[in-house]
């Protein structure tokens, strides 16, 4: 099933951002940690496209590398959320009964805990690193995926073609893999997109309050934290990372919306 969304603008934007950030080592004009006191506090110039920070480090390079970290963490978190959430939801949707009840109640309970708070709790225990953050954020985002996966599976399993397949003797496990999964794939993709947006937002927020990526490494959130301290005279420290974060989240959200709208219109035209 080839959807038109492959060619959407937001999709292109996402690829662009991903590409640029992951290629940071190649694209960055300077070493992000290279201190050059002479250039400190300069605004956007030909030498430093996005200015330089208080230690003269080139902002543009720092943003590229920062993006790399943010994107990597977000992508890892999204994948973890997808894996955990889908398995969670699938088991609940296939098993039904008290297993379903219990799993979904747990999902509700997890969703009842305000996100930052939960992240706070976990991060304070485990410490923040490139490994721990994706896991924490991933676990946080999994219940929504779980709910969605469960209801999608339940709907699919009750549809006629499944009943027919079971009646003709197909094994349930085979059914799930070959028939049900492809049909819920678009919804999972929407979830993936939305989760990616949420992951970026969470990571940025955590880093901004100091519980995320620590210096000298810097994700976009950390850059904003550092920039905020110097905001009085040099707004651009904060401005560029903020812009980057917003555009990235916007792109992911728009992409997810786009797929959802396409799916809905397909369904209603049938």
């Amino acid at each position: 099933m080839k959807f038109k969304w492959r060619y959407s603008f937001s999709g292109f934007l996402i690829l662009l951002i991903l590409g640029i950030c992951l290629a940071a080592p190649i694209l960055a004009p300077y070493d992000p940690n290279a201190i050059a006191v002479a250039d400190a506090f300069s605004g956007p110039t030909a030498k430093n496209w996005m200015g330089a920070d208080d230690l003269g480090r080139d902002s543009f390079s720092r943003i590229l590398y920062g993006g790399r970290i943010t994107i990597l963490i977000a992508m890892a978190a999204t994948l973890i959320a997808l894996l955990i959430g889908t398995t969670w939801g699938l088991i609940a949707g296939v098993r039904r009964g008290w297993v379903d009840e219990f799993l979904m109640r747990t999902a509700d309970a997890t969703m009842a805990i305000p996100q930052i708070l939960f992240a706070l709790v976990c991060v304070s225990a485990v410490g923040a690193s490139i490994i721990s953050l994706p896991i924490v954020v991933g676990i946080l985002l999994s219940p929504t995926t779980a709910r969605m996966a469960r209801s999608a599976v339940v709907t699919e399993l009750s549809s006629d073609y499944v009943t027919a397949a079971i009646a003709s003797g197909t094994k349930r496990s085979k059914l799930i893999l070959s028939e049900v999964m492809p049909n819920i794939a678009p919804q999972l993709l929407v979830q993936l997109s939305i989760n990616a947006a949420a992951a970026v937002m969470l990571e940025a927020t955590l880093s901004f309050i100091g519980l995320g990526i620590q210096p000298p490494n810097a994700s976009w959130g950390t850059l904003m934290l550092q920039g905020y301290a110097k905001i009085w005279n040099t707004y651009w420290f904060v401005f560029f990372p903020a812009l980057a974060v917003t555009i990235t989240i916007l792109a992911f959200n728009a992409y997810g919306e786009r797929i959802r709208v396409t799916m809905d219109s397909r369904r209603s035209s049938v």
Binding site: T106, A109, I113, P114, S124, A125, Y235, L250
Partner: protein, 323 residues
């Protein structure tokens, strides 16, 4: 009505119980030793001293025992003692709760007012310029992290225009005007973060309701568009939105944590962050319990409100309406 209340209460309590257990377990299960954190890296600790300290903090007991003992204490109002400051957690929390409550109240207030203005404006003429502008704004609003909104607001109103202070807190008892002035930026930040979700949801709900036959009947009476919107479409759109509002409150509570920290408000949110830095688990647990309880309480209240607005919801499954 009574049965309805009981059912909802039971449901809420079970969710509360589970989340609390989750928080508790997360702290205990995750690697990282609170006692070591307390001592700090500088101190040399003999293994025996470590064991003794852990014994003292009760961390050597089986997990379940720890859990139940904590819950038992919590019921009696004892949430433990902060590892660092030696103050009882309950005291720390109760000192700072009023601030959080005040901020949260204003945030929700602003979000609801904005939504009740923007969503109907959008629905009055779907597809119009007004509708589309509101639509794009909500998209962008959803994608901007709360603290970024805060930064922008501070830049404009504190630094450039110098109209409002950007940090600090003065209790109402001392000075009402100053207190409110200091509340404005945090409340607007939080409100702007929550509004897009509300507006989106309310608008979708209203557009759906607009297609209903009874809206045509209302128009057929000769009512003006505005009256139809507010007396017939909006109330019927509120029911699903009220549920959403409960969730929004949850997100808001999450955001309050960051907002308190940014604006230097001494509420339980900033308490949580400070404790997170210090790895003060006793406090974090206590704060988590408080915040989660509030959240679940609010969803419960909104569920009840739903029942009030839509009388059909008060019927239990299988219960017939009187004829």
């Amino acid at each position: 009505m009574g049965v309805f209340l009981l059912r909802r209460a039971a449901s809420s309590l079970s969710v509360l119980a589970m989340s609390v257990v989750l928080v508790f377990l997360s702290i205990r299960i995750l690697p990282g030793d609170p006692v070591l954190a307390k001592l700090g890296a500088a101190t040399e600790v003999t293994p025996e001293a470590l064991v003794a300290l852990r014994e003292e903090a009760g961390l050597n007991r089986p997990l379940l025992v720890q859990l139940f003992s904590w819950i038992g204490d919590a019921f009696r109002g004892d949430l433990g003692v902060s590892y660092f400051s030696q103050f009882p957690v309950t005291q720390l929390v109760s000192e700072r709760i009023p601030v959080t409550l005040e901020v949260t109240f204003f945030i929700i207030f602003i979000a609801v007012i904005l939504a009740l203005i923007l969503a109907p404006l959008s629905t009055l003429k779907p597809g119009s310029i007004v509708d589309r502008v509101i639509g794009y704004s909500t998209s962008i609003g959803l994608s901007v992290p709360g603290f970024v909104i805060g930064i922008v607001l501070i830049l404009i109103f504190s630094l450039t225009l110098q109209w409002l202070p950007s940090r600090g807190f003065i209790p109402i008892s001392e000075n009402l005007v100053e207190n409110l002035k200091l509340m404005i930026l945090p409340a607007v930040t939080g409100g702007l973060t929550a509004t897009p979700y509300l507006v989106r949801y309310l608008r979708a709900s209203m557009l759906e309701v607009k297609q209903s036959p009874f809206v045509r009947t209302a128009e057929g009476k000769g009512l003006s568009n505005v009256r139809v919107l507010f007396r017939h479409i909006l109330p019927n759109s509120l029911v699903p939105t009220l549920t959403m509002l409960g969730l929004i409150v949850g997100y808001t509570l999450s955001g309050v944590v960051v907002i308190e920290y940014m604006y230097g408000l001494p509420g339980i949110g900033s308490l949580a962050i400070e404790s997170a830095f210090k790895r003060d688990y006793a406090v974090i647990q206590g704060v988590a319990l408080t915040i989660i309880s509030f959240f679940i309480l609010t969803t419960f209240v909104f569920d009840i409100l739903c029942g009030i607005v839509d009388p059909r919801l008060r019927l239990a499954k299988g219960q017939k309406s009187e004829v």
